[in-house]
């Protein structure tokens, strides 16, 4: 008997309309856990580097994490993996909500799509009954609208639906997959879904998910819940509001946006508005949120209710969480939150990434201002209004998602659009890492921890690698002493010492402290926790994203042992996480990614420290078992049982037998199809 997982995947060939239920190998679960881990293995095995993102041979994998569907609180993530049309590397965006547990209850751990359907379809999974259904009537429908229409047509409100909107159908490079209150947004995975002509996946399941050692497992769950309660009653002092409490951040609840609006940059990630937040704005924003918000809502089996139902008068109701609250207002230089929440409704139905979309629009307006694009490129575009570029943003969103005129170019994201527009446009696509638009954050000073995370994070999104360790030193030693007192989540006490000695000024301050070695250690820990979450299906809002989270390296192995019946300890778990982290790296290396791609946006840091930056990367690569080009070495691959990767690397000339050879020219620069 398989525990926690079902032991079965669905293989769907959309070209031929063929569906198979395939038993998986339990040894793969031991080695790669599940979710992201086993997704990476499948992509490595079955998607060679020649495969274009929009090729029928690209796979689109929807995976439920290993512990989804068990009583473990907040274990509800769907991990969607494919080759991204934006980065042309592996994308593994995730969504919370209800979809992954439902898939488990239907009897499957993953749905793996290959091929391309001749016409628009949706997949219906109802326990053992799985069928590909015509979706012609859903063409052009919004993502949320589609889910509702499918529920009505099946006459079952309990069906969980993940769908794309018009953006996915039109293969917008930053199209998302939406699922009620959650979305998998980064890397343009919605475009791959649209390319496969797959409008939605509807799931209903009524089977059991079993755990190996029930009494032990339920006690672990109760401990987590109790700790959540403790954290609720004891917010962490001295940090910004969203980091003080658990959740994925609590943007729907927290009204104080001083930190985001004054520290993040506006427009096309340009302008810092230092005195933006005042009483008037605070009141207006409070009123907008309070009048639109109907209810706080949670994901499956989690009390944290990070999302909200929003009902802007005169518009359809939708659901939101997190930072999308601010990105549209800030991108349009609008001081109105109401605008941001209204346009986000349309953007959610279209299904676009809330980080990339506003930046692409702001980028377009900058190009117009600079004369690189002209009025002729934007026929009938409205003027700015008193609040900023609000009307223009609606206009731009529409032409991008419909791929009309210049919208067809902008739809490829700032990096590819700039290349196509030329004429100096590249200078304006300035906030990207590995071709993806980043959080609009510009720093004056180098924080070595963040530097490494920006460079090397495979999800190419800072929030998906940071967490655990404070973002900055606390002002006084006594604050730090207090902080480390009940900091039992650290893998080792040395991390407490790193933090205790971290001073805002003087010898032990940034950028030279934490030292290069400490920085590597800290970044590795932070990253590891995210990778474990992504395999287990755990929400980062209860785990890797937070300081002092309820899930940590000491209880996670117990959850896996008691839940999945796989004997696990901290070392074995760390090694498993390292194994599939390395495999994600290997997929990308095979697709041409190298050291030259691992850098923060050019203007991210005001003051640069070239020698220190070089030393950081050199040391971290070594620490990770990668050579100086960032390629995992033969020895480190061997240690992880990944000899099949080094054999492939040697065959392709990526690694020479035993020594380093220069990187092969990257495939990454090929224009999108």
């Amino acid at each position: 008997m398989r525990y926690a997982e079902t032991g079965f995947n669905l293989e769907v060939d959309l070209t031929r309309g063929n569906i198979e239920r395939v038993e998986t190998d339990p040894r793969d679960t031991e080695l790669y856990l599940g979710g992201l881990g086993t997704n990476a293995k499948i992509l490595w095995d079955r998607v060679p580097p020649e495969v274009e993102p929009f090729s029928p041979d690209n796979l689109l994998i929807f995976a439920a994490g290993l512990l989804c569907g068990t009583p473990a609180t907040g274990c509800n993530r769907t991990i969607v993996s494919t080759i991204s049309p934006q980065t042309r590397l592996m994308a593994f965006s995730m969504m919370g909500g209800f979809w992954a547990p439902e898939l488990k209850y239907a009897g499957y751990d993953k749905v793996i799509f290959r091929g391309k359907s001749p016409n628009l379809v949706y997949l219906l999974i109802n326990n053992d009954k799985v069928e590909i259904r015509d979706a012609a009537h859903l063409q052009g429908k919004g993502a949320i609208e589609t889910a509702e229409l499918i529920r009505q047509e099946l006459n079952d409100p309990k069906v969980q639906v993940a769908a794309i909107g018009l953006a996915g159908e039109n293969r917008i490079n930053f199209a998302s997959i939406e699922q009620g209150r959650s979305s998998a947004s980064r890397g343009g995975i919605g475009a791959v879904m649209g390319d496969k002509r797959l409008k939605a996946i509807a799931v209903r399941g009524t089977k059991d998910i079993n755990v190996a050692r029930p009494a032990e497992f339920i006690e672990l769950c109760k401990d987590v819940l109790n700790y959540i309660k403790f954290r609720e009653e004891n917010p962490i002092p001295g940090v910004i509001p969203i980091l003080a409490v658990l959740g994925s951040p609590q943007e729907m609840k927290i009204h104080d946006e001083k930190w985001h609006t004054e520290n993040f940059v506006w427009g096309n990630a340009r302008l810092r508005r230092k005195d933006f937040w005042n009483d008037d704005i605070a009141k207006q924003w409070y009123d907008s949120m309070e009048s639109f918000r109907k209810r706080f809502i949670s994901c499956y089996n989690c009390p944290l209710e990070c999302g909200a139902t929003l009902a802007p008068p005169g518009q359809p109701t939708y659901m939101m969480k997190c930072f999308t609250k601010l990105t549209y207002s800030m991108g349009a230089m609008s001081d109105s939150l109401e605008f941001g929440l209204r346009i986000a409704q349309r953007a959610t139905e279209y299904g676009v990434d809330g980080y990339s979309a506003p930046q692409v629009m702001a980028f377009a307006l900058e190009l117009l201002e600079a004369g690189i694009l002209t009025e002729k490129d934007f026929p009938e575009m409205p003027d700015d209004n008193a609040h900023g570029s609000e009307e223009r943003f609606y206009y731009l969103l529409d032409i991008i998602v419909r791929r009309e005129g210049i919208g067809d170019v902008l739809a490829n994201g700032t990096y590819w659009a700039a290349k196509e527009i030329g004429n100096g446009a590249e200078e304006y696509a300035h906030n990207n890492i590995k071709k993806i638009e980043q959080l609009p954050l510009k720093l004056g000073w180098l924080n070595p921890i963040y530097f490494l995370m920006y460079c090397t994070g495979a999800k190419v999104n800072i929030t998906q690698i940071e967490g655990q360790f404070p973002q900055a030193p606390f002002p006084k030693r006594e604050h730090r002493e207090k902080f480390v007192k009940d900091w039992f989540q650290v893998p080792d006490d040395r991390f407490k010492q790193y933090f205790l000695d971290w001073e805002p000024r003087g010898e032990n301050s940034m950028p030279y402290y934490p030292t290069v070695e400490m920085t590597c250690d800290i970044v590795d820990w932070m990253e590891k926790m995210h990778y474990i979450d992504d395999a287990l299906g755990l929400c980062a809002g209860l785990s890797s994203f937070h300081l002092k989270p309820p899930y940590h390296i000491h209880n996670m192995p117990k959850f896996i042992s008691a839940g999945a019946g796989i004997e696990m300890d901290e070392d074995k778990l760390s090694k498993a996480a390292k194994r599939y982290r390395t495999l994600v790296r290997a997929v990308n290396i095979r697709r041409g990614m190298r050291r030259k791609d691992e850098k923060p946006p050019e203007d991210h840091l005001k003051k640069r420290f070239p020698e220190l930056e070089k030393e950081l990367l050199d040391t971290y690569y070594k620490f990770k078992g990668w050579n100086n080009e960032g390629i995992p070495t033969k020895e480190s691959l061997h240690e992880l049982g990944l000899d099949y990767v080094s054999q492939d690397f040697i065959q392709r000339g990526i690694l020479a037998d035993g020594e380093e050879i220069p990187a092969k020219e990257a495939l990454l620069e090929i224009e999108p199809a």
């Binding site: 949320i144 079993n210 809502i297 499956y300 989690c302």
Partner: protein, 181 residues
């Protein structure tokens, strides 16, 4: 019925639909607790509480499994909430032939909330796991008529099988099963 009176503890779960966030932890823990062995399996479809939700209409109503109903209701009423009409069945507590709610997914046997009577804690589990207090527990004493002898669970189960398959077929199966023993 005779009019013998006795005091009885009435266990009551109060439902505040404004507080419900739709997390379905109540469904999860109910199904886990009632699995055999306890907590070994998890399947909200077996839960004795279901959160009826229409998120876009902002409706979240936790409903407890009530009595087994042999036949579906004759007349149906309608609820109107915020100007939208809902069939009465939408919020009904019965395990009834007209739908699959509150039935074991494999056997079709009816499910009924038993207030977690096998659990040592006073407070039922769905209440304990509802962190936002949409579900709260109350007890009060009441004078009641001596209870009518209730059908045992087994009988209720059998009755529903008979409704579904006919008496003869059920008796055949029972006979066959007893031969196998």
């Amino acid at each position: 019925m005779t009019g013998n009176k006795k005091t009885k503890i009435i266990k009551n779960i109060k439902i505040d639909i404004n507080k419900c966030n739709g997390c379905r932890a109540c469904e999860m823990i109910c199904s886990a607790f009632h699995a055999a062995p306890q907590y070994s399996g998890n399947n909200p479809a077996r839960s004795r509480i279901r959160v009826i939700h229409y998120p876009l209409k902002d409706i979240y109503v936790p409903v407890y499994a009530g009595e087994y109903a042999e036949a579906e209701c004759m007349g149906r009423d309608k609820y109107v909430i915020d100007g939208k009409e809902y069939d009465e069945c939408a919020f009904c507590r019965a395990s009834c032939p007209s739908r699959d709610l509150f039935k074991e997914p494999d056997s079709g046997l009816p499910l009924k909330c038993d207030m977690c009577e096998d659990h040592p804690d006073k407070e039922p589990l769905c209440v304990q796991w509802c962190y936002v207090d949409a579900l709260t527990y109350e007890e009060r004493e009441e004078e009641v008529d001596e209870e009518e002898v209730k059908l045992e669970d087994v009988e209720i189960g059998l009755e529903s099988m008979v409704d579904k398959y006919g008496l003869e077929q059920v008796m055949d199966v029972v006979a066959r099963m007893s031969q196998k023993e």
